[in-house]
């Protein structure tokens, strides 16, 4: 397949995955905020931290309240990381890759885009926002469904899978980063009271609650949640699983020698870490390291297969 097409499909998958993850995270976070007492040290601002978007936010807004944070992360096209921006980029990439995919896949993304455009105003109130987020999550899942039912496991699909899993692993580490607040030694008693609920929300934001329960058969607790989301090989959103997927794609694409060295190193260091007795600072460093290594892999993918490589 054309290098140009490979690049577009890879980005299409990244942007769509980002769209879906953003929708899920915003939706879960809203739920969490509705449950939390007002004086607990979890705020809308933490959401900006997860997206690494505090600086960009304060360039556009003053107060990180619910209205502003939500607008910035959901509908503001001045924020290239907002859900609507991601969806726009995804649509542009699939619009220019239509010859590679079942028609329904394009139509699905296009319909989501039209829906978002039409409903941008209703996102200002909570009810409207819930409806939009649900529709977006459903739409992204339909897209994945169309592909799994009608697309060959050809090179095109490998690049979609690559993009999806690089993005997914990245998002999981970002969500887990918020755990450093939950684990801080100086956290308030109020927060400690709600700890269980908070960890449940972390699982929910990755659609992992049910699978976690089935697998761990243990009450929700910090060590198990972290271990599960970082090391489990079967859950689709755990970091290890995502890396495995990327490596599988590499094999299918007949990767050049050495392309997975970086990921192998990442997996070994992850597996060697005892997640159960990690300090908040160590956790933060570990997650940071994973994000950096994912960035390295992204660059390697680009220089191996994309148009600029020639």
């Amino acid at each position: 397949m054309l290098s140009r097409s490979a690049e577009r499909l890879y980005w299409l998958a990244r942007y769509l995955e980002r769209t879906e993850n953003t929708a899920r995270l915003l939706s879960v976070y809203m739920n969490l905020m509705f449950d939390m007492p007002m004086d607990v040290e979890i705020s809308w601002r933490n959401l900006l931290t997860i997206f690494g978007a505090e600086e960009a936010f304060f360039r556009l807004y003053d107060v990180p309240n619910e209205q502003n944070t939500m607008r910035f992360l959901l509908t503001d096209t001045a924020n290239p990381g907002s859900l609507f921006s991601s969806l726009n980029f995804a649509r542009e990439n699939i619009r220019t890759s239509r010859e590679l995919m079942p028609d329904e896949a394009w139509q699905q993304v296009n319909e989501m885009y039209l829906f978002a455009k039409k409903n941008v105003e209703t996102a200002t109130n909570r009810r409207g926002r819930v409806l939009i987020l649900n529709e977006i999550m459903r739409g992204c899942q339909c897209f994945t469904g169309f592909l799994s039912g009608a697309m060959s496991h050809n090179d095109s699909l490998q690049f979609i899978r690559l993009g999806r899993n690089v993005e997914r692993a990245d998002m999981t580490t970002r969500i887990l980063d918020i755990a450093s607040i939950l684990l801080a030694d100086d956290r308030s008693d109020r927060l400690r009271q709600h700890e269980n609920a908070l960890w449940m929300h972390v699982l929910k934001s990755l659609s992992a609650l049910l699978m976690y329960r089935k697998h761990r058969r243990h009450r929700v607790n910090s060590g198990d949640v972290l271990d599960y989301l970082l090391k489990d090989l079967d859950f689709p959103r755990s970091v290890s699983h995502c890396i495995n997927e990327v490596e599988t794609c590499f094999k299918r694409l007949q990767k050049p020698e050495g392309l997975d060295d970086n990921l192998n190193a990442l997996v070994s260091s992850l597996m060697a870490t005892d997640i159960y007795c990690i300090t908040p600072a160590q956790l933060h460093n570990l997650l940071d390291d994973i994000q950096v290594k994912l960035g390295v892999t992204h660059n390697q993918v680009a220089s191996t297969w994309f148009l600029a490589a020639h």
Partner: protein
Amino acid sequence: MDSLWEHYTVTDAYDEMRGPTNQARPSSDRLSNYLAGLDHKALDIRKTAADMAIMEMGITFTVYSDEGNIDRAWPFDIIPRIIENNEWRRVEVGLKQRLKALNCFINDTYNGQSYIKEGLIPASIVDSSSNFLKECVGMTPKFGAWANICGSDLVRDKDGTIYVLEDNLRVPSGVSYMIENRVITKKVFPELLQDLDVQPVDDYPTHLFEMLVSMAPNDIKKPRIAVLTPGIYNSAYFEHAFLAQQIGAELVEGADLIVQEDDHVYMRTINGLEKVDVIYRRIDDRFLDPEVFRKDSLLGAKGLIRAWKAGNVALANAPGSGVADDKVVYAFVPQMIRYYLNEEPILPNVPTYLCSDPEQLSYVLEHLDELVVKPANESGGYGMLIGPHATKTEVEEFRKVIKANPRNYIAQPTLALSTCPTLCDNKLEPRHVDLRPFILQGESSFVTAGGLTRVALQKGSLVVNSSQGGGSKDTWIINTDR
């Protein structure tokens, strides 16, 4: 009962669906009756459904404006246009005949120009054509087929005669919309299509594919085919992507291609370079190859012409085909048919005055207010004068333009383009239409069943181009014999 038709007033133009006394023509009998059974609300529901489908399917065309390029939804009128099968058979044969003669002409142009020696066409006309490419002299593509894809514009005059208005032999567009229009009609009027014998149109991509395969160099059985697009900012990008998808070809841009020392064309893939055998190019000649034509072109690929001349890649349409896509050359097509094929033309030309001829020029200048004057080499309906609809100042302005460069203009009588019932504000009103069928020629010839009907949505307007506010209709070739 007949509420929709009660207020329908046929003009003095030929109406495709209703006769002079507003009675349904035999081929349109059923459609007329069916529509009569719908009230305004039912029509509106169907129109809304069609608009929705167009949005969701993402059927767009790009318009250039000051605010940048905008993707506009494809303008579609839900009322189909009907042509009777027996009439269409004759048109189909006429179109194949025409393209064959045009291809003979192009081949002759680049190989000896026997027609000039025989006094058929003045040498000056070909020499001065901006679409004549000296680089093509001496070439003969397979089967002598230079123009493999042609879109001819047909119009019907008052008395019902179908004329050929022009032949688009460069990069004609619209065929994807013809196919998508039918998809939408199937959603909007499924019950109607069940009762009528309407010929399908979605076999076009299969024929396009087969034609492209037949053009492959060295008789490669499974050639690698690419559609070469100028990119996403081109007004027809939707169509390029659509066709690539329909024929399973790669959609490439110039930067994806590279011509190596061995004079073969390769594309840059994830596994390195892969050879390309046939290119359906949707880029104008001048931008194809900076090695030969415009040096500043980033759209094409360096060395493409070299590879083509070496016989290592087929280009459809062949470079230089545009020499026959010239409104002056158009005037000679009936003679070409007689000269090359020894046949009588089946489809008439619109009478055409050549401004390059002093006698004809003076006639044109005296009758500017009755004539349509067109530049020889423009497409898209730009830079033309419609005499009867123009102001005095416009006419005088145009007089100067013609005098300055007579070779570049032709004039034709203003035809009363036929009309077709069209949904305007929930009512049916007559609007002028033309028709663009698509003709393929490779090893064999093919004509689409009908084509793209374009409709001027404004009352009285004759301008059907989508870039200038025109719409489109599904076109039904109906068999009424059974």
